[in-house]
């Protein structure tokens, strides 16, 4: 187990290094730092302004290796964009935003609360509702109820997320006036009122795909031998579904959930920006619209980091829970 753990974490670390290299290629090699500077200070800025901006944001260094070192440059050989990128990302020193020079770390900290207060209920409600509906459908498999719900799921899957938000805001926010259309507050009662609509819209827009997936898992499980055994010893169909099938199906369901964990932190981009929730999703949207490459880079990195961590955790818990998983 120890050796497996070390190997798994080691591979995760190498993957992180790979992701960082991908980000380096994308954000420093493909985009010219000159481009970033031009977008930040404007097309018509004088060369001095440019150079100063690049110097202040650390974009003035060479890309891979500081060859000027041998020629008497005071800076070290590794004082380059590549090494600096790795050093800063790995030590979580994200520096300043390219757009407004604010500290990225501070903005991350500010955005975390609102983001989590949206995504955690969204995640929890979506999961519980999805599993319950799928169980219900799987219980009535091969009947008209099953068909009807599956068709309904297909219909909901075919609607763009954008439309759910627009129609939700219009119907519930504007016509029925049940909840405010957008906004956010830290006070619990108000936050609940503000978050109700985005959570509802998010759950509805995501439920179709979830129910279909979970139903397939449940139906697959209910064809297994142990289910026949349970029936043979006299379990009712409800008990079979709830006690036997649900418990065994939880493992594949959980592994599917892990994939969505980074989204808990990076926030739901569309939901947050439409409903005016000042979370990490809004931060990302602002970064896109403001050409803020350093913030965007940080968000992509954090998303990937969380994903890798989540995968390592699933793999380890798999290995712990299921003795059939070979530790190779």
């Amino acid at each position: 187990m120890g050796a497996y753990l070390i190997r798994r974490v080691g591979y995760g670390l190498i993957t992180v290094l790979g992701v960082l290299f991908l980000l380096f290629v994308l954000f420093f090699a493909v985009t010219d730092p000159d481009d970033i500077a031009r977008k930040a200070v404007g097309e018509r800025a004088r060369p001095e302004v440019y150079a100063l901006w690049k110097k202040n944001h650390g974009y003035d260094r060479p890309l891979l290796l500081n060859r000027a070192y041998a020629a008497g440059d005071s800076r070290r050989y590794t004082d380059t964009l590549l090494f600096d990128h790795y050093r800063r990302m790995l030590t979580f020193d994200f520096g300043n935003s390219d757009a407004d020079d604010s500290l990225i770390a501070r903005r991350l900290k500010e955005g975390m609360g609102p983001s989590l207060s949206l995504t955690v209920p969204l995640f929890a409600f979506g999961l519980v509702l999805g599993v319950l509906l799928a169980l219900f459908v799987a219980f009535f498999r091969e009947t008209y109820i099953d068909r009807a719900v599956l068709v309904l799921c297909m219909l909901t899957m075919s609607i763009a997320g954008l439309l759910y938000i627009i129609s939700g805001q219009y119907l519930i926010g504007m016509l029925l006036k049940w909840f405010p259309i957008s906004g956010f507050a830290f006070e619990p009662y108000l936050a609940g009122r503000f978050l109700a609509l985005p959570v509802l819209v998010g759950v509805v827009s995501g439920i179709g795909a979830d129910v279909r997936l979970y139903r397939t898992i449940f139906v697959e499980e209910s064809n297994r031998d142990y289910v026949r055994t349970a029936r043979a010893k006299g379990c009712g169909e409800v008990r079979v579904m709830l006690a036997h099938v649900l418990r065994n199906a939880l493992i594949p369901i959980l592994s599917n959930i892990v994939i969505t964990i980074p989204f808990l932190f990076t926030g739901a981009l569309l939901l947050e920006s439409f409903f005016g929730i000042p979370g990490l999703g809004s931060l990302t949207v602002e970064a896109i619209q403001g050409n803020d490459f350093s913030t965007l880079r940080t968000m992509v990195y954090l998303g990937a980091l969380l994903f890798i961590a989540g995968q390592i955790l699933t793999d380890i818990s798999y290995a712990l829970a299921d003795p059939r998983v070979r530790l190779t």
Binding site: V19, V30, S158, A160, L163, L270, L296, V300
Partner: protein, 340 residues
């Protein structure tokens, strides 16, 4: 532009005929195709209509415009759809309701009174025309991207699975790295970095979706490598490349088709998000929806812009989803065994 899309249409038609002949000749594919037709006739017809509109919107030539236009417009190539709707007969106009005779803009008479089936948008452009123009963009996003991505993913995935060892390690690492970045963020980062434009967005979508195909191709090839018929072929002295061409590729074709159908909808829906963020493709339904989203708060409410784009989007996605679903039932042996 006109020349490029014309050649593309010819190439696509030739490719389509070639594929149809291949399907008709092989018994397995012929039976699957007839079964698909029997199960989802409506969805297939809908998709065919969309394809027709897309093709009509890709065949264009210069000249033959309305009289009294300026030189720039006269030199632009116009597609069949353009010629049908003639949007260049521009009169100053604004919103008009479906089948209306007047526009909002000073109660002006419309150019085709009572004939704008879905009304016009803020600039007096026919909504049906704009929705039709979006068909080509959507098909480009979904189809063209896949056409680029599938061969590359197959190459990497099959070679990695077949030859194993170093090649497999390298490809697997690349896949892990790309799969570790949440796909929407990766997509956004790629488009931001490469800039806007049809090709750039297609490449970004391709890089994001590539991993999925590659993983499936690799996994299936790993299984096939151990198959007895591959062993037999190897024992007979067939070269590796021939084995891949004759024995591996035909046996993963069905999975690739299913994955293509499933990823098509994902690609088109992802573009709507990009459009909202302002980095989408020009003329796409996503952009139409994005432009129309604030019009709901006007009085009288302007719903037809949003409805035109979103119904078109919904119908296309639904048709492809239905087809993908039926395809999976028909050709994937794993779901078939489950007994429907």
């Amino acid at each position: 532009m006109g020349f490029l899309s014309n050649t593309l249409v010819v190439l696509l038609l030739v490719g389509g005929v070639w594929l149809a002949r291949l399907v008709a000749r092989d018994r397995y594919w012929r039976e699957n195709a007839t079964q698909l037709w029997r199960r989802r006739p409506l969805a297939l017809i809908t998709l065919a209509l969309f394809l027709l509109i897309g093709v009509l919107d890709s065949v264009g030539w210069v000249g033959g415009g309305a009289s009294g236009e300026d030189d720039v417009a006269a030199l632009r190539s116009r597609t069949l759809i353009d010629r049908l709707f003639q949007p260049e007969r521009f009169t100053e106009a604004s919103y008009s309701a479906p089948l209306a005779r007047l526009s909002f803009y000073g109660g002006q008479p419309l150019k085709h009174p009572g004939k704008h089936l879905l009304g016009t948008d803020i600039l007096g452009r026919d909504v049906v025309y704009r929705a039709f123009k979006g068909v080509r963009v959507a098909l480009l996003i979904g189809g063209f991207t896949s056409l680029i991505v599938i061969p590359i993913a197959l190459l990497f995935g099959v070679f990695a699975g077949y030859f194993g060892k170093r090649i497999d390690d390298a490809v697997f690492f690349l896949m892990t790295v790309l799969a570790s970045v949440p796909s929407l963020l990766l997509l956004i980062a790629l488009v931001m970095v490469m800039g806007r434009g049809t090709l750039q967005v297609c490449i970004a979508l391709g890089i994001t979706g590539w991993v999925h195909f590659c993983r499936i191709a690799r996994g299936e090839t790993l299984k096939l490598r151990e198959a007895e018929f591959v062993d037999a072929a190897r024992a007979l002295g067939v070269s590796d490349l021939t084995i891949i061409r004759r024995h591996v590729l035909p046996n993963i074709a069905h999975l690739i088709i299913i994955t293509f159908a499933l990823s098509f909808t994902g690609l088109v829906l992802a573009e709507t998000i990009l459009s909202y963020l302002g980095i989408g493709l020009d003329g796409s339904w996503g952009q139409m929806i994005d432009q129309a989203r604030n019009e709901l708060s006007r009085t009288p409410i302007i719903w037809w812009n949003l409805a035109g784009a979103s119904v078109a989007l919904f119908v296309l996605i639904l048709a492809v989803n239905m087809i993908a679903d039926a395809l999976r039932d028909i050709i994937d042996p794993r779901t078939r065994r489950e007994g429907r």
